[in-house]
């Protein structure tokens, strides 16, 4: 029985929608003009939320690209000067053995050792300059998304043999080798002959304000070479650990530090640098900035929608006045006040919904135009329509329809049937 009543209620809404559509179709031009505000409001919400979410994704991507998700670093910090306990005084130092042990730790996907050899004299037949030399691990450049534009990067064999091979920064190619091919050529670093095996370029970021151009002014050699000829005693400056995806990041970080402490017989001679956490806070900051923008955009779009609502309001008042006689007839046939109010409210909601649908289409069009313009500038800028934004805009338009339709509809409902019929 209740089911049947519910069905009847739904079918009643269907009747009202049919009446409303008939009325809208009879006044096509007026209806379209009425909807301008709502169409623009919804279109701006849809396009703005789509664009801002696409930009957000791009910025997020870049941060991911420059950063090192799920990594942390263990850094040798040298003997402390302010220690009181005897064992802390004894500085053991990070070693190649530590790296081997850490590599075998559960949950560690990869380790990358690093040594700074400092600024050293680099020279070829063409030029000589003082260049920062960095000892890195195999595949480290690729792991950091620093593109190898020529040749190859350091391989495990280079690390094992502490080979005298170098990957040079892109900006160093011209001064050291002119226009000749640098791969396979020789460069002297601190008086030792190295073979150039690759050229690395800085990563390019469009949205994140970070300068990585220093990457192109450095020379990268196997970190084991730096250990052997600069540090001695198998020492390493720091090691980066990548945590496997299916392991808990903080737990692995803790396990790594514990292992190192044990191996150093309790000495706190290293620091943990959680660059992933720093990255996360950068991302959160970017999110905050974008959230601020979203509020501004939503306010503008909201004002547009409300202006659209005022248009709807005035047209509905006109419509009620025009249809006084029709209202009177409906009342004579037994329509009560709420019936008449629903008649106009549904018309208002359908108009608003129609505006919202047109607005979503328009907003999608705007987004596509933006993509086309970006493509015209040779940029690949994919902007998917932001669904939550579109849904919110449509719902808000419906609310506007109800709010601004309420007064005209109630006015129609309060008409006196005798006076309404007398308008003959």
């Amino acid at each position: 029985m209740a089911e049947r009543r519910a069905w009847a209620a739904w079918s009643e809404w269907g009747d009202l929608a049919l009446d409303a559509l008939r009325e809208i179709r009879a006044h096509k031009l007026r209806s379209v003009l009425t909807l301008f505000g709502i169409v623009f409001g919804v279109a701006s919400v849809v396009s703005m939320t789509s664009l801002s979410s696409a930009l957000e994704d791009m910025a997020y991507d870049e941060l991911q690209r420059m950063g090192m998700p799920r990594t942390f670093r263990l850094v040798d910090r040298g003997p402390r000067s302010d220690v009181s306990r005897a064992e802390e005084l004894r500085h053991v130092g990070l070693s190649l053995g530590d790296i081997d042990a850490l590599t075998r730790l559960r949950g560690v996907a990869a380790t990358f050792g690093r040594n700074f050899a400092g600024r050293q004299l680099a020279s070829t037949e063409l030029d000589q300059r003082v260049i920062p030399i960095v000892g890195v691990d195999a595949a480290y450049l690729r792991f950091r998304n620093w593109p190898i534009v020529r040749g190859r990067e350091l391989a495990p064999l280079d690390i094992m043999n502490a080979s005298r091979v170098a990957v040079i920064g892109e900006e160093l190619v011209k001064p050291f080798f002119g226009s000749a091919e640098p791969i396979g050529r020789t460069i002297q670093l601190d008086g030792v002959r190295f073979r150039v095996i690759g050229v690395v370029a800085p990563i390019e970021l469009e949205l994140v304000p970070a300068d990585f151009s220093f990457l192109a002014r450095r020379i990268y050699v196997p970190y084991t070479y730096v250990t052997r000829y600069y540090r001695g005693r198998r020492r390493v400056d720091d090691v980066m650990l990548k945590v496997a995806d299916d392991f808990d990041f903080p737990k692995v970080m803790l396990a790594g530090a514990t292992l190192l402490r044990q191996r150093h017989r309790g000495s706190e001679d290293f620091e943990i640098e959680n660059e992933a956490a720093d990255l996360a806070s950068d991302l959160a900051m970017a999110d905050n900035v974008l959230a601020g923008w979203s509020i501004v955009l939503f306010t503008i779009a909201g004002v547009t929608l409300i202006v659209g609502g005022v248009g709807l309001f005035s047209v509905l008042l006109i419509s009620v006045r025009e249809r006084v006689r029709e209202i009177g007839i409906r009342m004579a046939l037994g329509a009560d006040g709420p019936d008449i109010r629903r008649l106009f409210l549904v018309e208002s909601m359908i108009l608003a919904l129609l505006g919202a649908v047109l607005g979503v289409a328009g907003g999608t069009g705007l987004v596509m135009v933006t993509e086309a313009i970006a493509a015209g500038f040779g940029r690949d800028f994919f902007v998917p329509v932001h669904l939550p934004g579109a849904v919110a805009a449509v719902l808000f338009a419906l609310v506007v329809g109800v709010v601004f339709g309420w007064y005209p509809a109630s006015r129609a409902a309060r008409l006196n049937p005798i006076e309404a019929i007398r308008e003959l």
Partner: protein, 223 residues
């Protein structure tokens, strides 16, 4: 028990500070199956009486029982519901919805009764139109129909809800004599089928159709 039982009906309109009496105490009884005409010159109160009898308005004083129920105290929604179930109106100017087809027009009162599906409503409307000889006009819009046909569609709309009384206001005012005769014939058929008709007119020829005539003068029933 009479279908309509009015006792001492008065209606006073307030125009600014002046009270204008439209009805000055009407006693009226209409029994089931009667065909009654209410006549009188303009300003005699016959429209006001029709509005009260049709539950479009309520009397200032007096009692009105329609189909056994006192409706003189009802207002607003309650009155609308009585109107929907008990009264069928036929207006002088037909008053069909121009954007609806004939069957949709006829089905309209059932929409306000609630609980009847659109399909069922239209089925009943079409059956009734067939019965009134308007089967060929189903699906047409009012602007495609002649005056006489329009008035018969209006009659169908008044009858669809199976009301206690049919209230007809100046049915031939907007029709030529041929169409007028056609419409009067329809009323007779409807009356013969057992419906109770109250017809308001100032045309003596139309009033002559009815079995009984009540003449109003200055808001009172003339002797």
């Amino acid at each position: 028990m009479p279908l309509i039982e009015a006792r001492g009906l008065t209606k006073v309109y307030r125009l600014g500070r002046v009270d204008v009496p439209a009805l000055r105490g009407i006693d009226l009884e209409v029994h089931e199956g009667e065909y009654v005409a209410i006549t009188g010159p303009s300003g005699s109160g016959k429209s006001t009486l029709m509005h009260i009898l049709g539950c479009l308005d309520s009397p200032t004083s007096g009692s009105y029982r329609l189909d056994g129920r006192d409706v003189s105290g009802l207002r607003g929604r309650a009155l609308a519901h009585v109107r929907n179930r008990k009264v069928g109106f036929v207006f002088q100017t037909f008053n069909l919805m121009p954007r609806m087809t004939t069957d949709e027009n006829v089905a309209l009162p059932l929409q306000y009764r609630g609980g009847i599906s659109r399909r069922a409503r239209l089925r009943r409307a079409r059956a009734l139109l067939e019965r009134l000889g308007l089967g060929e006009r189903i699906g047409h819009r009012p602007d495609e129909l002649s005056g006489g046909e329009l008035q018969r569609v209006a009659v169908a709309r008044a009858l669809i809800g199976e009301p206690a009384i049919l209230l007809i206001d100046e049915p031939t005012g907007n029709l030529d004599s041929k169409a007028g005769a056609e419409v009067l014939k329809t009323f007779r058929e409807v009356h013969d089928a057992g419906n109770t008709i109250v017809l308001v007119t100032h045309d003596p020829n139309v009033a002559a159709e009815a079995a009984r005539t009540i003449r109003l003068v200055d808001g009172e029933v003339a002797a």
